[in-house]
């Protein structure tokens, strides 16, 4: 971490000398530059959304449904309205005349911001109460009186498909979306193969559960008839339509501003628009700012923030020699009551359809069902973790069926490095990587452990005598990185017509970055996306300091709000490292070109006689114009024609690569970087208690060129911790009557420092041939590869008992249950 080229130790750099002090040609990018975000956080000065309410703000609380499925017979708000501290009560009836339903992930499911006539999940907002403070608002919420006529709830995802009870009568079925995709000739492969193996696996409802909940401060301005909305929504420049469409205003009149510090999101805060809309409506009604911060119980039971809950039926065709011939995935994904924007979580697995295996014939089919549970949102990995889990489970099953060593079976089918770049049957392309070498690396670690270590046969034997089963099974996993095209609205498109599209019809979402030189010669850059802990300010600081040859302390990075920023994608889909580095490169070039033009103008010489270098423009004879001097000269130019400002929109790594044309045109998920990991967690399962302990976690990780190894390592640790939680602890269970079972953090068990094993992470760097810096996306890795690899190691440990981790999370209860079932057989 000390390899900074930063020599600004005395902090006394004068504006004119700036740049020239860059002592060496060493770069910031690639070094573990300490984060610029940290100081304000460590001192408590950082302002998160819950610090944003002004003195004048009123506070909102929500009355939420207590039933999973019921007709609303009547709502009596009079007692709440009579409460002396209460300023406003709103129900669906009050908002329907003036506003619109909220946009949905699937056409036909547009929804009012408050339950209209019927409630469809416990925790669904029914009424808004605004009062002097939150304590009083909750007092008044208690006075709202709703009478219900309860209905049967739909809780089981497979059962929901029978349509015995409908969540949405108008739609006529609980299957909100369905698609079957066939690649190559799966029927042929399955008919020809020596064996067909089948398995069913389930993935429990989990989510990101960031430490900070959702929050908003909405302020309506009467004079301009517009809204300023501070909120911690994720992708504020992409999903702002969910707010302005609902309010029925132009995008320019609804300004979403996300604080520089957001307390985590992991995808979950993409769908918090309801809160923004309700606070905005209340603010307009009262002509006062209205603030709301979701409390944790609201967040867990009805915060529209659960994620993937799937039941899989998987088939695999395999020959006697272990060659995998074909794959067949069917699953049902329980989206809860309403399909929100992240419906395409069911499609992203196509970008890693066969994981690290060379298989060309596959079928992929899903039913997206609606039930009486809170709505799904995105979560780190976006549907991929469950897919890799199901795939690795069926591979284990196949090894058992044909009596082959699972390691050998995996090795036999891995994509070889000389097959790179490798096109999947589903048309996405893996850019680079040596998967067999990665597997061998962790296999070696495990071999070492077998020789006097944690897996020494004698130790394993002795432990087994105590009822403790140890095992480890190395696996390789791909993390698809850098989405950025219109495949994301495939489910709102006419899918029959997609074959007619060509490359020109594809809409892409670039990454915008802009910068200006300040009067003191420092550089202020503006990101058009929001962040929630990923260190983007640090990353842009490093990249721009290198592009411009100045000190990192000369760069100040800020954020644009949704009105200032162009519509773009933002922080999701492991894309920022690649997109921001592409944007910074383009921006650096644009800005230096401008500065050369400006200097040539000042010196009245041709552009070709000047050159930008390390914070100044120079010309023959040693004359220099520093950034500060250039900024001063530029002020003489008209404001709309300044040359010390520039912006750049970096398209996307796949934009210029013909190889992706087909996938882009057909709206198949395109993720042009393939980061990968080979994992080998060593687990110990206590057959009596059912507890799974991770003794050690080996992982070899490769995300191409690392822009900031400290941040890369941090992402890996954090992702793996979430992977461990998903595999062993976390689950939003529901009782048969639709009551949520995990509504506090006592019930939804997040990993603590006690659950995290010793991690031994190694890194290799296989640069991406597709990206400007060689970087690959890596924001989701550990959550993508953690659960599947843990399940495989558990299978290895429990092999003597013939038990498989067929349900995630594999909680102590489930482990004991499975073991007893086997014993009874």
């Amino acid at each position: 971490m000390s390899s900074r080229p930063d020599s600004d130790a005395d902090g006394s750099t004068s504006a004119d000398a700036r740049g020239s002090e860059r002592a060496t040609s060493e770069k910031f990018t690639g070094s573990g530059l300490n984060r610029v975000e940290d100081r304000r956080i460590l001192t408590g000065e950082a302002e998160y959304i819950h610090d944003k309410a002004p003195e004048s703000a009123l506070h909102m609380a929500l009355y939420r449904s207590v039933h999973a499925h019921a007709e609303i017979e009547s709502i009596d708000t009079s007692a709440a309205e009579d409460h002396p501290g209460c300023h406003l009560v709103l129900t669906a009836e009050d908002i329907k005349a003036d506003y619109n339903p909220m946009p949905a992930g699937l056409t036909g499911f547009e929804e009012w911001s408050l339950a209209d006539g019927k409630v469809r999940y416990v925790g669904e907002p029914v009424a808004v109460v605004v009062a002097d403070d939150r304590y009083v608002a909750e007092d008044a919420v208690d006075l709202v009186d709703v009478s219900y006529d309860t209905l049967d709830p739909v809780v089981d995802p497979r059962g929901a498909r029978e349509d015995e009870t409908l969540v949405h009568e108008d739609f006529g079925t609980n299957v909100g979306d369905h698609e079957e995709l066939t690649f190559g000739d799966p029927d042929g492969a399955f008919a020809d193969a020596d064996h067909v193996v089948e398995g069913s696996y389930s993935w429990g409802r989990i989510s990101g559960v960031p430490l900070e909940t959702a929050g908003v401060v909405a302020d309506y301005d009467d004079d301009s008839d517009s809204f300023d909305i501070d909120c911690n929504i994720q992708l504020h420049t992409l999903v702002d339509d969910t707010v302005y469409d609902t309010l029925g205003y132009d995008p320019d009149d609804v300004n979403l501003d996300v604080p520089p510090d957001v307390g985590g999101s992991f995808g979950t805060k993409i769908a918090i628009h309801r809160y923004c809309c309700l606070a905005a409506m209340a603010s307009k009604e009262l002509n006062r700012p209205v603030a709301f911060v979701e409390d944790r119980i609201e967040n867990l039971q009805g915060g529209d923030m659960h994620s993937t809950e799937r039941e899989y039926d998987v088939k695999l065709a395999v020959d006697d020699d272990g060659t995998i011939r074909g794959l067949d995935f069917w699953f049902v994904d329980d989206f809860g009551a309403w399909p929100r924007y992240p419906v395409n979580q069911v499609l992203k697995p196509l970008s890693v359809l066969t994981n690290a295996y060379d298989v060309q014939d596959a079928r992929y089919e899903y039913d997206l069902v609606l039930t009486n549970k809170t709505c799904q949102t995105a979560y780190r990995g976006f549907g991929v973790p469950a897919h890799l889990y199901a795939l690795e489970m069926i591979v284990d099953e196949a090894a058992e069926e044909i009596g082959m060593d699972p390691d050998a079976l995996r090795r036999r089918n891995l994509i070889e490095s000389d097959q790179m770049p490798y096109e999947l049957p589903s048309k996405n392309i893996y850019d680079s990587g040596d998967f067999p070498a990665a597997l061998a690396h962790v296999q070696e670690k495990i071999e070492d452990e077998r020789d006097g270590g944690l897996l020494d046969p004698e130790v394993v034997e002795a432990k087994r005598a105590e009822g403790k089963y140890r095992g480890a099974r190395p696996t390789v996993h791909i993390e698809p990185g850098v989405s950025g095209s219109d495949w994301t609205d495939r489910q709102r498109s006419n899918r029959e017509r997609l074959a007619d599209r060509d490359r020109d019809d594809v809409a892409e979402l670039p990454e915008h970055l802009r910068a200006e030189i300040r009067p003191d010669g420092t550089v202020r850059a503006f990101l058009a996306t929001d962040s929630s802990g990923q260190g983007h300010q640090t990353l842009v600081t490093q990249l721009l300091a290198d592009e411009l040859g100045v000190l990192s302390s000369d760069i100040d990075v800020r954020y644009l709000d949704s009105v200032e920023a162009p519509t773009e994608y933002g922080t999701a889909a492991s894309r920022m490292a690649v997109m921001v580095s592409g944007a910074a490169k383009g921006l650096g070039e644009a800005l230096t070109e401008n500065l050369e033009t400006l200097a040539a103008e000042v010196w009245d010489c041709p552009d070709r006689d000047v050159v930008y270098r390390d914070g100044a423009v120079e010309r023959a004879g040693g004359e220099r114009l520093s950034l500060a001097a250039l900024a001063e000269r530029d002020r003489e130019r008209p404001d709309d024609d300044r040359l010390t400002r520039a912006s750049y929109d970096y398209q996307h790594p796949a934009t210029d690569l013909e190889e992706f044309d087909d996938a882009l045109a057909r709206k198949l998920p395109v993720y042009p970087t393939a980061a990968f990991a080979a994992n080998a967690p060593i687990v110990e399962v206590d057959a009596k208690t059912g507890e799974v302990e991770i003794l050690k976690f080996y992982s070899l990780r490769d995300c191409g060129t690392q822009l900031n190894p400290t941040i890369v390592e941090g992402q890996a640790h954090g992702g793996l911790a979430q992977g461990i939680g998903a595999a062993l602890l976390e689950e939003f269970g529901y009782a048969d009557d639709g009551q949520p079972q995990a509504i506090t953090m006592f019930d939804y068990r997040l990993p603590s420092i006690e659950n995290i094993p010793e991690m031994e992470l190694d890194h290799t760097e296989t640069p991406s041939p597709f990206t400007p810096t060689g970087a690959k996306g890596t924001g989701e890795g550990g959550m993508i590869d953690g659960p599947a690899s843990l399940a495989c190691s558990i299978n290895a440990a429990l092999e003597p008992l013939d038990v498989q981790a067929d349900q995630i999370p594999f909680t102590p209860n489930r482990v004991r249950e499975r073991i007893r079932e086997r014993e009874d057989e």
Partner: protein
Amino acid sequence: MSVNDISGPLDYPTEEIALSVNGEEVTAEVEPRHKLSDFLRDARGLRGVRVGCEHGVCGACTVLMDGRAVKSCLTYAVQADGADIETVEGLADDGALHPIQESFHEEHALQCGFCTSGFVMATKELLDSEPDPDRDDIEDGLADNICRCTGYQNIYDAVLRAADRMDGEADDEGAADDEEATGDGATETEADR
């Protein structure tokens, strides 16, 4: 819908409390139902006290009360009457970060930072009572705090680094009179800026 225009102060009962907050003597009128976390954040403006669950699990709201780490969301403000409260805002000394803060920065022990105040205060309690913690001490001392971003490894390393540094400072102070805290901590901060 109805817009209510009665907005005068409500007649809730209050009690007077007197306490010390980050070394400052404070008296205040609070409602008995007000949580210490809300009192510190709203009445004292100490926004570094984060609120992540309000039911005692996440530890984001951890502050020191008479030297012991407490969850300020589970403590009523009236319970702090007569107490000595320390929050993260009280740690830095005239702009110089506390060794624990330094160490969290250097070990990249924070990402989104929402848990950080709580972890830093829990670490302070831990190191005040156990200046030379082993792995178990750290696990016990921080088991009541949740971090969703870092995966804990770097937090663990930061605590060890802080222990080292505080140990070094204690030695320095003992040996030479006031060369105090110029150690690597102060210099590295300068360079990072």
